[in-house]
Symmetry: C2
């Protein structure tokens, strides 16, 4: 299977066009402003001195690098001299402050010149990876190679220290990222040297004991076992996700069956036991980590934005290796839920954590002590973070969303084009038999109606049937023939000028977690298509936990209490608070009251005042509880 | 209202007789052994030196003191020379190592001789209070006054430092206890000086800012407001409870209406907003504290054993001031649930925390880091604790349980005897009109049948109608006349030889928490009489959270899976785990399976292997969910 360069997909309208425009018009600038204010751009001058504000942290390089990567993706779509000037200034600073030997790192250049590559957990290779990704993206978008040249020199220095001379103080980085970045460098330059270097880091991980800070176990950075022996997702969820991307890349590009097997098992461990319905992963704030199976508390969900992105990235790499719609299903789950929740509707504020329940009254619980005894996620998005990995990750994820739309299997007689994600768009796919154009006309995710036009050459088009759908309805086929359903895809044989009118029937569905996911027992999530919905206190009164919905009355509405966002309404009941005089009462002796419950998409939560929020709710069907 | 000396109540059989015998035969010895092993007894020699095992902690005096107090209560019932020899050895060490000026504290004598009474949070007055309580108890039980004499001298020194010379480094102790202890000293000696000293400490609290460790806010030790202005329960739940006892004591003995008002409000704040159905209080491990209203998580409940005891002590003092059965209701709730759960059925092991849910799989969640990110209570009782306040508190609470059985209002024409708690027992009550004997014949809490015999003089007998009961049934009255029901008591006019046959109908009841207690929404607790029941995984399979009981089928059984302990069984359903292949599934599409659910009393939980436990469960009545 091969990638379809996402630059070849033009998102022409609809849901993701709006998000792309928001990122271009607002988010890129908002993150830029915050980074400028906090000194992250100036830090690249490497002239910070004690007493100046904003002491550079050892992960600052990566913050700006991710922002550049995202800005570059936006630039590819539409050049912008002002934006490029900002990036060029950073690049000039990188070039100016790069060491003779190729090394570049703000923190180490300023504060720790004598101990480069000695502290495994101080993110040098993590920063290097993000700088490389940024350089590749910027070169790809603008053709300017100064940044890329710097990073090629840096990559060569890394190779010297970690492979040729083998004199670094550790074997593998404490925070993975370099692995997948080097693969990007290989894919862009075609130089196999970088693939080998990436493979080196993947191979070394867990092969021998390495030093870690005291509070950390080897699982934290996935060093507990050689990667080929790993079968479960462990430790820091972002580190894990980035590693799994690197593993999947190497597995695909080198045909490494042991690595493939590890990737398959780890992916299934995540989606079968460790993923929220929103696609959020890493349930524990302690270690920002994957934990034991089915440990998925809603109120305490850590579910870092970067971890959701990393999961989508991992799934994207898996769908390049294996034909199974579960990979695209996960990407879609992340896209519309646990990732998208991280960005405010105005594009300016961000969630680091994306919990499945918010109870504002709980944030005041430690009234008698000066620390937080329970790590409760934020109840509102912030514009600025000390540890600011998430905002620029959002900046790069949305403009590259089309990366997940298509893959192509060119190894068949006629090329098989896999259409994974649905969005109003036009794509050019280069195949051995010429350029094939695929055009999607759809209002997805408002409804599941798709009109797909294929032109240019004969091909097989495999359209994903999402797991939330009860199948795919063929409304009309022109120059196209239905062949089969397999592994979650509907295959059509298409010729030049084919038009497929399809429908993925989008009903409101109540979803339950399996019994082992104890925090969800007895409750259901309201979903429609790929979108998970939630209740907010501002619309439904509090406490939300006491609401029981009547599932027969659920209705989808194109509008709702949040502007520009749909809603689902239904009849519901809750106990009548005022009827209670005591804390404990004989059950069933107090009246219930009716209400019209209003659900909004989870991604739109927390955009008004601070209020309760919950995904899972009690529900009755025909007067009987389900879930 | 006056106390009825609990020494005058002989518990002659039944539930509490068994517990008293267990404490006498097992628990006193078990705690003694642990304290001996850890050096707590030897510490009283005040000759510990660097290098020796078991460095004395500044709260060790109090651990042994509480143990002595409990042992003394047991001795009062039956003298035991061997046990007294152990206590006399401690007393000799106290006398030998007491300072010339009257001061006594192991830690300060060993390590901090120069800074006595300078560190507010280092428990000197807390230890002093427990030593005073122990000395009073030991004198009361044996007539030996050596210990008491030492403590009178110490109390005089405290008075000198904190009142006369007023040269201590703080005004009020960081951990309350001395207040109620000095009242006991007053009540035993009749010397009003100790009541005044107690009142001094109560009056001073919150009257001015005092120093605290950095992590602590004034609420932590109830110093945020002058006590007479306090209306809510705040901070460390044991400190709070002990303070409220002192406040109630002073209010009662001095007729202080402002203090009474504060006590009334605080008590109602606790039982209306901050108490678990088990009588556990202090829901947060952070600060071991009361938190905001309705913050009552089940899995994370801290609910320290000592805090439950302190709540019962506070309620006991309130029922001496106010006629309202809610005070005795709370005591009973604590006695049979959140207190009794702390002691293993074999009498040897203890819970410090008494959560309302145990999920063993969660304890492994921090697999990738070397610390616990979420404070989860222990899943099994321990025999030994570093911080060992709870075990000796159990040792003293059970042998003094009869303290809560009776109060007397001698201010009426004929004395009114309030019978608060039900247990097979004989009590002598000294009144102005002579000794009145009250004899209870009952199998309580197995059932609610009571035969009460009153002899000696005319009186009014007020029998509590528990809040769990739908009333009191008069089966037969001899030489007794029903007068009225008021404030939760049934009043009978009785003459010498009266026999009252009564019944408190004991049905299985499902109890719900009010809607604001969000962690219980949609679920109910199974109770029978004063006893809260729970499910354990060992009997019911796991996960327990998925069980839904059929409330129509609930049946009480005198026996059950735990030897010597009753059970409640019913039909129930749970989802069929094996029918699930994925983590998320359309709700209601998988089969349920039937099971016979078995509840055991909450107090009997965690006496077999490590397993899930939960109090609140989903329940249907006539196929419809309640709660």
């Amino acid at each position: 299977m091969e990638k379809v360069d996402f630059y070849e997909t033009k998102i022409t309208g609809g849901f993701w066009r709006e998000k792309l425009d928001l990122v271009r018009k607002v988010t890129i600038g908002a993150v830029y402003d915050r980074f400028r204010e906090t000194g992250r751009f100036d830090a690249f001058r490497c002239d910070w001195k004690e007493g100046m504000p904003g002491r550079p942290h050892y992960f600052w390089d990566s913050d700006v690098a991710k922002w550049i990567e995202g800005a570059a993706y936006a630039l590819r779509e539409k050049r912008d001299p002002a934006l490029e000037a900002v990036i060029d200034e950073v690049v000039d600073n990188v070039a100016r402050n790069q060491w003779e030997d190729g090394y570049f790192n703000i923190y180490y250049t300023l504060f720790a010149r004598d101990r480069r590559f000695t502290a495994r957990d101080e993110h040098e290779l993590y920063c290097a990876g993000h700088l490389i990704e940024a350089a590749v993206a910027y070169a790809g978008a603008t053709g300017k190679t100064k940044f890329l040249d710097c990073m090629l020199k840096y990559a060569a220095y890394i190779e010297k220290r970690f492979v040729t001379d083998c004199d670094a103080g550790f074997k593998t980085p404490g925070h993975e990222e370099i692995e997948l970045a080097l693969v990007k460098l290989f894919e862009y330059t075609g130089d196999r040297r970088w693939l080998e270097l990436s493979k080196h880091f993947v191979d070394q991980r867990g092969a021998q004991a390495e030093s870690n800070p005291d509070w950390m176990r080897p699982q934290y950075n996935q060093s507990h076992l050689p990667v080929r022996q790993q079968r479960t997702a462990e430790g820091h969820a972002v580190r894990a996700g980035y590693l799994y991307c690197g593993m999947a890349d190497i597995a695909r590009l080198t045909g490494d069956d042991e690595l493939k097997e590890a990737c398959l098992a780890i992916f299934d461990d995540i989606i079968g036991k460790k993923m929220y319905i929103t696609g959020g992963v890493g349930s524990s704030s302690g270690g920002e980590a994957f934990t034991v199976p089915y440990d998925l508390p809603n109120l305490l969900a850590y579910t870092e934005t970067c971890a959701a992105i990393a999961l989508a990235m991992f799934a994207g790499r898996m769908q390049l290796m294996f034909v199974d719609s579960k990979y695209a299903d996960v990407i879609e789950r992340v896209m519309y839920n646990g990732f998208l929740s991280s960005l405010s509707l105005d594009g300016k504020a961000f969630f680091y954590e994306n919990p499945l329940e918010i109870l504002p009254f709980m944030t005041g619980r430690d009234v008698s002590i000066n620390h937080q005894s329970l790590h409760l996620p934020q109840t509102r998005r912030s514009e600025v973070f000390q540890c600011s990995c998430c905002p620029p990750n959002i900046v790069r994820f949305i403009p590259s969303i089309a990366e997940y739309f298509y893959t192509i299997d060119a190894g068949q007689k006629t090329p098989v084009i896999y259409l994974h994600q649905f969005a109003e768009s036009e794509t050019k796919i280069r195949t051995g038999s010429g350029v094939i154009k695929v055009k999607q006309k759809t209002k997805y995710p408002e409804n599941g109606k798709l009109q797909i036009t294929v032109s240019g050459a004969n091909a097989t088009l495999a359209v994903r049937i999402p797991s939330w759908s009860d199948g795919i309805k063929i409304l009309d086929l022109k120059e196209a023939l239905f062949v089969k359903k397999e592994q979650g895809y509907a295959y059509f044989s298409v010729t030049d000028g084919a038009v497929l009118k399809l429908d993925l029937p989008m009903k409101i569905k109540l979803i339950e977690a399996r019994p082992e996911a104890v925090f969800d027992c007895g409750r259901v999530a309201v979903t429609r298509g790929p979108v998970v919905y939630c209740l907010e206190g501002i619309d439904n009164g509090e406490p939300l936990r006491d609401i029981r919905i009547d599932a027969k009355t659920l209705k989808y509405r194109e509008n709702g209490p949040v502007k520009g966002v749909p809603s689902i309404t239904c009849s519901a009941k809750r106990r009548y608070k005022e009827a209670y005089t005591e804390l404990y009462t004989e059950a069933g002796t107090r009246p219930a009251v009716d209400l019209e419950a209003v659900f909004i998409p989870y991604y739109a939560m927390a955009n008004r005042k601070e209020t309760e929020m919950q995904v899972y709710t009690f529900a009755d069907v025909s007067g009987k509880r389900i879930g």
